[in-house]
């Protein structure tokens, strides 16, 4: 019973009912229109016949008087299928015709009218007629009419046709609706079954396809690809948490060992103090790694971040160069800059600043020239190109082999030869995550010699227009603007 109730509740069945109603109204209108027209046609024919007879009779009256008319009418009433006739004298008494009874007052007014009557020889049977009443000179009244039995029969045929067609329309429509609804319901139930078993944990299951290529099929295909994507993301997430577990365990173990060793071997307060300080240092490193991981995870989740503004990426580059310059000098390196102006981007100044800081930090750590004759130069440049802002950090160090460049963006990746130095292996991953969050990317290239890392960020769609700019400058800005809008859309895809 509930299955049937479900069937009645389906959208397909409700749609069928709606169509049924529309078709029924349509059928009613068509049949009604046809019958009305046929009836009008019949009425016109009857009126014309009656008109012709009256004309003929009144001519004969003019020629031969009342007696001729009475003769003619008596002759005509004897023929089969005769019209209706009645002639009365000035006193209202019938003197000829085949009508036995008329409703009172019908003969008073000349003209055409529909009326009931009783025929001679079949008293008590009321019939309908269309009649014309005509005044003849000398106080005589002449009624000529036609029985409307044919028209009534036609009306009955039409109304029977209407009822029959409505009946079959409803029967066939309801059954058809139920069949269609059941078909759709069966497919949706199949989908529901699959969804339920996916929800209860069977992530490999997919929604059934029907090979009909209809809208339901296309929806199913999309839902299935969505499931594929979810499975993929979950796999990625699991990998990340495995990595995190693994990579946090190493420093945690080191932390624990150090504390244990201090407990075992330390004797003086100074030794204890030293061990505790080391422990705090170690845990600070852990916290830093953890924060960086959280930040990357958060950015990769793609949630929108607050605090986005329009700002000049060149200013960020200048700030950071200024921040790192003394540290570079200490490391016997030199930072060169080539920073263009008006590099407006929309995003988080904090995050882009941190990403660029990581790149410069890496260059200072690993970018020292292996050749003592060549100076270690780190080159920081910022420029606009095709609607994108490029922040480049190039060094003269050993660089990264082409085969490892993609690999190095992964989390915790530390290349051979860098493991001895401080670092978590998260700097580039974080920069890459920042770039992706801004619909940009990180490019790792050969600086011949050395490494060239480029942080690509789409230029802002609407750079702030400075009121003190000249007209020429503003046009320039507008042009950059148009280009950048186009590119932003492309990148977003």
């Amino acid at each position: 019973m509930t299955a049937l109730a479900n069937l009645f509740r389906t959208t397909a069945f409700k749609l069928s009912l709606a169509y049924l109603l529309i078709f029924s109204i349509g059928a009613g209108v068509i049949i009604g229109w046809v019958s009305w027209n046929v009836r009008r046609l019949l009425d016109e024919q009857i009126a014309a016949t009656v008109e012709a007879e009256i004309n003929g009779l009144s001519e004969q009256y003019a020629r031969g008087g009342i007696r001729v008319i009475v003769d003619v009418i008596e002759r005509r009433t004897r023929q089969p299928g005769a019209s209706l006739y009645l002639v009365t004298n000035f006193a209202g008494q019938a003197i000829a015709g085949n009508i036995a009874q008329l409703p009172p007052g019908v003969l008073d007014q000349p003209g055409v009218r529909e009326t009931t009557y009783e025929r001679q020889g079949e008293l008590g049977v009321e019939r309908r007629a269309l009649a014309r009443i005509f005044l003849l000179p000398g106080g005589f009244r002449l009624l000529v009419g036609r029985d409307l039995e044919d028209r009534e029969a036609l009306r009955r045929v039409f109304s029977r046709a209407l009822l029959t067609s409505l009946f079959w329309l409803i029967v066939i429509g309801t059954i058809g609706g139920l069949l269609v609804a059941r078909r759709v319901l069966r497919r949706v139930d199949g989908m529901n079954d699959s969804v339920r078993s996916i929800m209860s944990g069977d992530l490999s299951r997919r929604l059934p396809l029907s090979r009909t290529n209809d809208e339901l099929e296309r929806l199913t295909i999309n839902l299935n690809s969505m499931l594929d994507r979810i499975v993929e993301l979950m796999k990625g997430l699991r990998e990340v948490s495995d990595n995190i577990a693994h990579d946090l365990k190493t420093p945690l173990t080191r932390l624990r060992n150090r504390a244990e060793e201090a407990l075992r071997t330390a004797q003086t307060p100074d030794e204890f103090r030293g061990a505790l300080e080391k422990t705090i240092e170690e845990s600070d490193t852990l916290i830093r790694i953890f924060n960086a991981l959280l930040m990357i995870a958060r950015m990769e989740a793609g949630s929108e971040i607050e605090g986005k503004t329009d700002f000049d990426a060149g200013d960020v580059a200048r700030d950071l160069v200024e921040l790192y310059e003394p540290a570079a000098e200490d490391a016997q390196m030199r930072i060169e800059t080539d920073i263009a102006s008006g590099l407006t981007v929309h995003g988080s100044r904090e995050l882009i600043g941190q990403a660029l800081a990581n790149l410069i930090d890496n260059a200072l750590k690993y970018g020292a020239s292996p050749n003592a004759d060549h100076p270690s130069i780190v080159r920081v440049s910022a420029s606009a190109e095709g609607g994108q802002v490029l922040l480049r950090v190039g060094d003269r160090g050993p660089g990264i082999a082409a085969s490892e460049r993609e690999h190095v963006l992964g989390r915790f990746v530390r290349l051979e030869g860098s493991r001895s130095r401080p670092g978590s292996g998260l700097g580039l991953s974080l920069a890459a995550a920042v770039a992706r969050l801004h619909n940009g990317e990180i490019r790792i290239e050969d600086n011949a010699p050395g490494l060239l890392v480029t942080l690509v960020i789409p230029a802002a769609a609407a750079p702030p227009v400075h009121t003190d700019k000249t007209q020429a400058d503003r046009t320039q800005v507008d042009k950059t603007n148009e280009r950048s809008e186009k590119t932003t859309v492309e990148t977003a895809r």
Partner: protein
């Protein structure tokens, strides 16, 4: 730093106990509220110089608590403690009316330094004077000049801002992240020794050849500029 009255609003008993104890050891008066409503009532009633507010609190969350206080014209400086150390969480916290933000886990020295700076800012001690003076060091904020014992010392613009920040907080510990935030306006963790190098340059300009040294390194915490004679 003179004595401060600090209210710690934190639902984790152990963390709160540690904070209250540490503040007292540092010579301050510290009270504790265990949930948002209690904290709100105490903050409205008591005359505290600084509130340390956890973001996630039972009964009334940290940001609503701050919003409520600000609505009631309670302008006590607030430092927000949060386990959510993300860029936009910080933005949300400051927008809600917080004055500073520190992500958990934190070093107590960092927290103490920030709380002291907040309290001092409220007292308006070093706010808008045009002359900053520490020992023989004099910084003229109008003329942008620096002299020590009457001798001119030329400074780069950034060195000037660095020194100005240190001198405005003379006698207070200033951490590396505070310097990066206030002098460079970035909030990330300076992983390498970038700030230290800036400080050692500044130190060689203002302390080299003079006595006593004024710019001190506070181990495990940060830096402090202070008249050594005191």
């Amino acid at each position: 730093m003179s004595l401060m009255r600090i209210l710690v609003i934190e639902d984790d008993r152990e963390a709160a106990g540690y904070l209250v104890k540490s503040f007292r050891e540092a010579g301050h008066l510290a009270d504790h509220a265990a949930d948002g409503l209690e904290g709100y009532a105490m903050a409205r009633e008591g005359a505290y110089e600084v509130l340390v507010v956890d973001r996630m609190l039972p009964k009334l969350d940290g940001l609503s608590l701050i919003g409520g206080l600000r609505e009631q014209k309670v302008e006590t400086p607030v430092l927000i403690l949060s386990a959510l150390g993300q860029v936009d969480d910080r933005v949300k916290g400051l927008r809600a009316g917080g004055d500073d933000y520190l992500a958990k886990p934190y070093a107590f020295s960092e927290l103490l330094a920030r709380v002291e700076v907040l309290a001092r800012r409220r007292a308006g001690a070093a706010g808008e004077t045009t002359q900053l003076r520490v020992g023989g060091l004099e910084l003229d904020r109008l003329a942008h000049t620096l002299t020590r014992d009457g001798k001119d010392i030329p400074l780069q613009p950034r060195e000037y801002r660095l020194l100005e920040y240190l001198m405005r907080h003379a006698g207070q510990v200033v951490t590396r992240t505070m310097l990066l935030e206030n002098v460079w306006d970035y909030h990330f963790d300076p992983q390498t020794n970038v700030i230290d190098v800036h400080i050692s340059r500044l130190r060689s300009k203002i302390d080299k050849g003079f006595d006593p040294p004024l710019l001190h390194t506070i181990r495990g915490a940060g830096y402090m500029i202070r008249d050594g004679a005191r």
